[in-house]
């Protein structure tokens, strides 16, 4: 039992340990203690700093866009599906399907859909006279497409959690408000939405923590290229990247990667705690 706990917690603490060393991906090379120099390099040294700062900003943009859009879209879909309707379960299945398919299938499917030489997205854009290189275009544009695919792929979870929350709201409450003359929007705004606070908080927490650490779709759809990376992706690239092209390479800088992981962890911690604080405050105000 204790072993089990150690296995799951130990590595997190060990990340901090490795971040002070020059550990590599090779057995037999001695690991030296470096103190804070990995952090100095990551945060304060020359060319890296500008790149790393951009990566940090992009990580935050990714987190913000995914959290806001995924949560709103999930709420919209859940509310629409929470009424008597013939094809309810069919819609639910369709919206949840990508969650099950995983990053490889989702990434490749969208790469095909965004195929620039007359693919479906190009045809649709052509209807309004537009043209785009999509994933092959300017980095920021490609980044936005991957962000959208991330939302597309995970909205199903948000929807299911909201649907679970909606089921706990007694329908008499809504009906009573309608009899009192409230419009659909009013009863949503003043009854459903406040009562959904627990589900909303769960969804926001999951989306914030999840999106700060998400990078797998970026890897599938864009690989390790400049201009579209987020923090999680460069950690992977620093610590393991060389193995992809050259399995025998010694350049896997695991210690430096660990330092970047600690930076990411602190980012998740700080943003997570601010979000928790704001959500608790709102919950007290709304639910009393």
């Amino acid at each position: 039992m204790i072993l089990y706990a150690l296995i799951s917690l130990g590595p997190s603490l060990a990340t901090v340990f490795y971040s002070f060393t020059d550990a590599s991906g090779l057995i037999g090379t001695p690991t030296r203690f470096l103190g804070l120099s990995n952090y100095r390099e990551f945060l304060f040294m020359g060319q890296n700093v500008r790149d790393n700062a951009q990566v940090l900003v992009r990580t935050l943009e990714f987190c913000f866009l995914v959290t806001v859009i995924q949560t709103s879209l999930g709420l919209l879909v859940a509310v629409l599906l929470n009424q008597r309707m013939a094809a309810r379960t069919v819609f639910r299945t369709i919206f949840f399907l990508p969650v099950i398919l995983g990053v490889t299938i989702v990434g490749l499917t969208w790469t095909l859909f965004l195929y620039p030489l007359g693919g479906p997205a190009q045809k649709l854009l052509g209807l309004v006279g537009g043209h785009s290189e999509f994933l092959g275009g300017p980095p920021f544009q490609a980044f936005l497409w991957v962000t959208w695919v991330q939302i597309w792929a995970n909205m199903g979870v948000t929807m299911i959690i909201f649907l679970g929350g909606l089921q706990t709201i007694p329908s008499e409450l809504i009906e009573a408000s309608r009899i009192d003359g409230a419009t659909g929007w009013q009863s949503f705004r003043h009854i459903t939405y406040p009562l959904l606070t627990p589900s909303l908080n769960t969804n926001l927490t999951l989306a914030i923590i999840g999106s700060l650490q998400a990078w797998q779709l970026l890897l599938v759809m864009k690989g390790v290229t400049n201009g579209t990376q987020v923090l999680g992706l460069i950690i992977y690239a620093i610590a393991f990247g060389r193995t992809v092209q050259n399995p025998t390479s010694v350049a896997m800088r695991q210690g430096y990667g660990a330092a970047a992981s600690v930076v990411l962890f602190l980012l998740v911690l700080v943003i997570g705690m601010i979000a928790q604080f704001l959500m608790r405050r709102r919950e007290r105000r709304v639910l009393g």
Binding site: Y4, T15, Y18, F95
Partner: protein, 277 residues
Amino acid sequence: MSSPSGRPRMSPTRLVMILVLLVLAAVYLGPLLTVVNVSLQTRQQFNLNPTAIARQPQLANFVTAWNKANFPLYLRNSFLYTVIATGLYVVTAVFVAFPIARRYVRASGFLFSLFVVALFLPYALIPQFQLMLHLRLYNTAVGYVLLFLVDPIGVVILVNYVRSIPRELDEAAAMDGSGYVRFVLRVLFPLIKPALASVIVLHSIGIWNEYVTPLIYLPKKSLMPITRGLMVFYGQYGNDWTTLAAAILMLTLPIAALFLALQRWIYAGVLQGSVRG
């Protein structure tokens, strides 16, 4: 919104709502249907017009993909990893969760909170890699399976579920002289079936879909699971979209079928997993 007879009337609001749903459903199905369509096209058709409906659907792409992409080997690997790792994981997770839920071990409250905390901790990629490397388990199937035996979410779901089962049962079993292991396997397992089902389904889908873990841990081609194999194939034949679409589809169909059959447990698992301690 319902008329006196009780049947929903087609009010304008309702019409708009249904339209919104239909548009969204199109956004969700469009990319998937594109894959289906392209997988049935010939290469010439695709190069001429990727969105043309495949008039004479042909299955040649599937045969090509099956052979060229090394499908049988990769599929076998994925299948073995998923089944073995999920099986071992579920059994160990139950034996961990049960005593914690019943407080049969010291500091079980503390242990449980460790698992809940672990849910939020970032995945410790680098130390785990160093550990595997020095245990000489890097690039081995055994090592790869081991990676999936420590996932806190299943333990958390199981602990919460076991707590809802009356404790009297344990005592009755103990009076009957039933041993601990026997009790867990024969009495507890059937009782916690719903939670087990969710954990099994979520865990196995997670392993099946895993892409980065094999990328890091299994560079040897003969050990790769299908997700990784598909990306290798994509790297080699990146422009051969008709074959690629067939390969994607062959990977999608089994998961989609499983999903349709087990939807209920999946949704339940997502909800149980989101109610975190």
